[in-house]
């Protein structure tokens, strides 16, 4: 259950640790967008894995969106993300966009601005806070933005913190008590940030059909923050030819830190490399299909794809 916190905590020194993550690799850069009012820390495992597989990884801190950097309207978030994308696109041949939670909504907006991106990875996409741990009266928080409470209340994260792994959950609970920040995000989110996130996800819902980039969607069926309806909205409408969907059942919202983070990382890498191969990149061919069962399955999927179009 979520509760509302009256105090306004000071900016946490830990947030400074969770600075921008950048590591130079090959010509395929991955721009990783973290969740609302959080930091690149929550993408650390995935970023390191991608780095190990030779990708150029950039997990930027976005002004007005990341924790402890003030509050800006969501148009500014998108603008800042586009700037980060352009900086990567200028130096690297291919740039993919990977978004976690509200970062997924930001990625959807960003890819509409920059359709030349290589591929899109949506992890625990959040277009609405409608998971099972969200209380039914949560919509009041959206209204509270229009009252004087706007600058006083902060939405406080509560158990299970988006993590199914109980050992990790305890660790996070301790970290959140001690300070304002943990590896799966902030302990509180301000109302203006939530309001801007709501506006962003409304914008991201529009024109999903116009997206034609290769897309990977990974979502946990037990996600306590965003229900499986969120990725469904995208899966049913998106216009890409190469769409891969992975459903997890041993994780909650923070799939990059939870029990199945290895699967998430591995499948993301496989997908990005396959996407490269599908687009005819010269120096990195995909793996040939040797397994007959896989070939049969791919033919089945292709037949379904033809019927749908």
């Amino acid at each position: 259950m979520a509760t509302v916190d009256m105090e306004r905590p000071a900016v946490d020194p830990l947030a400074a640790q969770s600075a921008r993550f950048f590591s130079e690799g090959d010509g395929h850069a991955v721009l990783m967008l973290h969740g609302l009012s959080s930091s690149p820390l929550e993408l650390r495992y995935l970023a390191r894995y991608l780095q190990g597989e030779g990708f150029t990884v950039c997990a930027p801190v976005i002004e007005g969106y990341s924790a402890g950097l003030g509050e800006l309207p969501m148009e500014q978030w998108v603008e800042n993300a586009v700037r980060e994308f352009d900086a990567l696109a200028a130096r690297y041949e291919r740039v993919s966009i990977c978004g976690l939670s509200i970062g997924g909504a930001l990625a959807l907006r960003l890819i509409r601005e920059r359709p030349a991106a290589q591929s899109l990875v949506l992890l625990s996409l959040t277009l609405a806070y409608d998971g099972w741990a969200i209380p039914w009266y949560r919509f009041l928080l959206d209204w509270a933005y229009f009252t004087p409470l706007r600058h006083r209340y902060r939405y406080r994260e509560a158990e299970p913190f988006g993590v199914r792994n109980e050992a990790l959950r305890k660790k996070i609970a301790r970290a959140m008590q001690r300070s304002d920040f943990s590896e799966v995000g902030p302990s509180t989110i301000s109302l203006p940030a939530l309001h801007q996130a709501l506006r962003l996800s409304r914008a991201a819902r529009k024109d999903v059909a116009a997206i034609e980039n290769d897309t990977l969607v990974i979502h946990a069926i037990d996600d306590e923050t965003s229900s499986p309806r969120n990725p469904r909205h995208v899966i049913d409408r998106i216009g890409s030819n190469f769409l891969r969907t992975l459903w997890l059942d041993d994780s909650y919202h923070m799939i990059t830190s939870d029990n199945e983070r290895e699967i998430v990382a591995r499948e993301t890498v496989l997908f990005l490399r396959e996407s490269e191969a599908a687009r005819g990149a010269h120096d990195s061919p995909g793996q040939p299909v040797v397994s007959k069962a896989l070939a049969r399955r791919l033919r089945q999927l292709a037949a379904v794809g033809r019927k749908n179009t």
Binding site: L246, W247, E267, P285, Q287, P288, S291, A293, L294
Partner: protein, 217 residues
């Protein structure tokens, strides 16, 4: 009993549309049934035993049916999600399986290469390592008809020095698997070159692709 029709309507709405609409239909149905189907018709205010029976039995039966259907619907939704998980896992399994098959193939090929090297160690002319990525592209089946890509490196075998210089030039630039007719210096007459049948085989090992050229004997 006037409530039956509305009970059936509410159950159908629950099955197709869900809990909220079904509850709305039930409440509206209660009003309509009482107003229009319980005598005296057209009055809410006149209450007798028939009204009491309707107000007690109709909501009771309808709520029980709706809740049961709602539970089944939730279980059904859950089962669909689990089926999706199973499907994702199956696809992951197949991709893993593919990787294993590839590794196994490379492993077998390495063994074949080693046996080949041990068996024909006298007749070697050269071993050529192909650029790994280019070799994979060729083995993926798209470009088997095209010439193989440029060599990364060539390791000379025992007979390499006996090869005619023109053939050396030709082979280092373009070598393809199959039979070749090459000029080799004969052992008796050092200046003479003789046409010899040679064969070239390809090995896709885990360390990359190799072309092995040897004389046929």
């Amino acid at each position: 009993m006037p409530g039956t029709t509305f009970c059936i309507a509410a159950s159908l709405v629950e099955y197709f549309l869900g809990l909220g609409p079904a509850m709305t239909v039930m409440v509206l149905g209660l009003g309509i049934a009482d107003y229009m189907f319980v005598p005296p018709y057209g009055y809410f205010t006149y209450i007798d035993a028939r009204d009491v029976i309707l107000v007690v039995s109709y909501p009771l039966v309808t709520v029980i049916v709706i809740i049961l259907i709602e539970r089944l619907r939730r279980e059904q939704f859950r089962a669909q999600l689990i089926a999706l998980v199973a499907q994702s896992r199956y696809e992951m399994l197949l991709r893993h399986d593919n990787e294993r098959a590839l590794a196994r193939r490379a492993f077998d090929e390495t063994h074949r290469l080693l046996r080949h090297l041990a068996q024909h160690h006298d007749g070697f002319i050269l071993i050529k390592g192909l650029e790994r990525n280019a070799a994979q592209r060729a083995s993926a089946g798209q470009s088997t008809a095209q010439a193989l890509p440029a060599a990364a490196e060539v390791a000379p075998g025992p007979l390499f020095d006996a090869l005619h210089p023109e053939d050396v030039q030709r082979l280092t630039h373009a070598l393809s698997p199959g039979h070749h007719r090459l000029r080799l210096r004969s052992e008796q007459h050092k200046r003479e070159y003789r046409h010899t049948n040679c064969s070239c085989e390809r090995f896709t090992t885990h360390a990359g692709d190799f072309l092995v050229l040897r004389t046929e004997s």
